[in-house]
């Protein structure tokens, strides 16, 4: 199997970089996989409320084995802790919170992101079915959608594209994308580079991206 080496930020650094964007007072929903690492990031004195699809509002870090409460999981099935002021609601109320626009940002993994802010994360080309979970509700209704993904597939194909090739989860919603190469913002025609990971050049990022890249401040 051909594969490119992973360069730039590691998974935790990608998560950290997006978590830096969380603003004081935000309500944040973290998807399964790399996004859950955002809750490991030290957010200083910012007040961030983590919401999980299963109705757990105000959860905290994952607990080590032996200290878990087995009745308590986040949306990824990890045994988390609760912060003071936590509350539990059922699934319909939890998605009511999502659909009514109260989630300031949802951070999700994806297979592809397009220049127009579409993204695909529920169905691979070969499968008859897929795994939607809460992704479509969150994507359609959260105030912001941030995506974390490896910049390229294992085969070296770009994941940041002019148009998604896989069935989309939602259209025109992604505003910020963290990859191992840096931080990018879909701008309709391509992606604006907000920041590059250490050791990554603009030219390298451009070569590995399936849509035009523009450098912010350099037009």
């Amino acid at each position: 199997m051909s594969s490119t080496e992973t360069k730039g930020w590691d998974r935790q650094q990608m998560a950290d970089r997006l978590a830096r964007e969380f603003q004081d007072g935000w309500i944040v929903n973290l998807g399964v996989g790399i996004p859950t690492l955002c809750s490991n990031t030290d957010i200083g004195d910012r007040d961030i409320l983590y919401h999980a699809e299963n109705g757990v509002i105000g959860y905290g870090p994952v607990l080590p084995a032996g200290q878990e409460d087995l009745h308590l999981v986040n949306a990824g099935g990890q045994n988390v802790s609760l912060n003071p002021g936590a509350a539990i609601v059922h699934h319909a109320d939890s998605f009511g919170i999502i659909r009514s626009g109260r989630i300031d940002v949802t951070v999700m993994g994806a297979y592809e992101v397009s220049a127009g802010g579409d993204f695909a994360n529920w169905k691979v080309g070969s499968a008859k079915g897929g795994g939607i979970g809460g992704a479509m509700d969150l994507a359609a209704c959260a105030r912001r959608v941030f995506i974390i993904l490896e910049h390229n597939t294992r085969k070296g194909e770009p994941r940041l594209l002019r148009h998604c090739t896989l069935p989309v989860t939602a259209r025109g919603v992604v505003t910020l994308v963290a990859t191992n190469l840096g931080l990018f913002a879909p701008n309709g025609d391509g992606f604006a580079v907000r920041e590059l990971a250490p050791g990554i050049s603009f030219e390298e990022a451009r070569a590995k991206t399936g849509a035009p890249l523009t450098e912010e401040g350099r037009a």
Partner: protein, 245 residues
Amino acid sequence: MARNKILDSFAAAIADIPDGATVAFGGFAGPGTPYNLTKALLEQGAKRLTCIANTTGGAHQPRMPDIGMLVENGQVAKVVCSFTAATRPTDVLPFTPYYERGEVEAELVPQGTLAERLRAAGAGIPAFYTPTAVGTELAEGRETRVINGREYLLEYALPCDYAFIRAWRADAAGNLQFRLAQRNFCPLMAMAAKTVVVEVEEDILPAGAIDPDQVHVSGIFVQRLVKIPPAPEGLWTVRRQERAR
């Protein structure tokens, strides 16, 4: 005469489920999942079932009784769920090959829409509009409507004949309490079902022992309660079994 809702065995609690019934299964990533009732249904053998749940299960080891096993046992005609494939494309759910071969039908529903359709059934709302899935493959060919400038998808209520749920505590009147993430879909399935069957972790309390302000599901929705016996007869969650029993 107050009707007795407490039954001695899971088998007795689900004995009447006919072929072709629609059964909803509570639970999300473990908590609230009715392992014991599912096991009893595997033994009871009803066929051509429609199973409603967030997932069909089987993504993790050791495996617990799940819809995937009912599929393997030839009992399932259709599933309605938010995952017909695993979250990670490299995982394969036991259900998936049956679906890909066309042996079982599946209706893939976004998780929030699944919750809301169950809630609608329980609330006497036959249909509603939602922003979720607009513009996606799931909305192709389906009815949409623009309201205040935004496009919404029409979704129908999802009623069921039976709901299997797991609760932390119950009283003899059928009032239920869940602990933490155990709540998830369980109250919605209880509302949506004609017959609600509950496996209960703690000893079933006398009617009135639960503060009316702290009831999560009113006994008005609940018909049958079974206390989970100690392991190994009763199935607890995998990790609870490992740890405490």
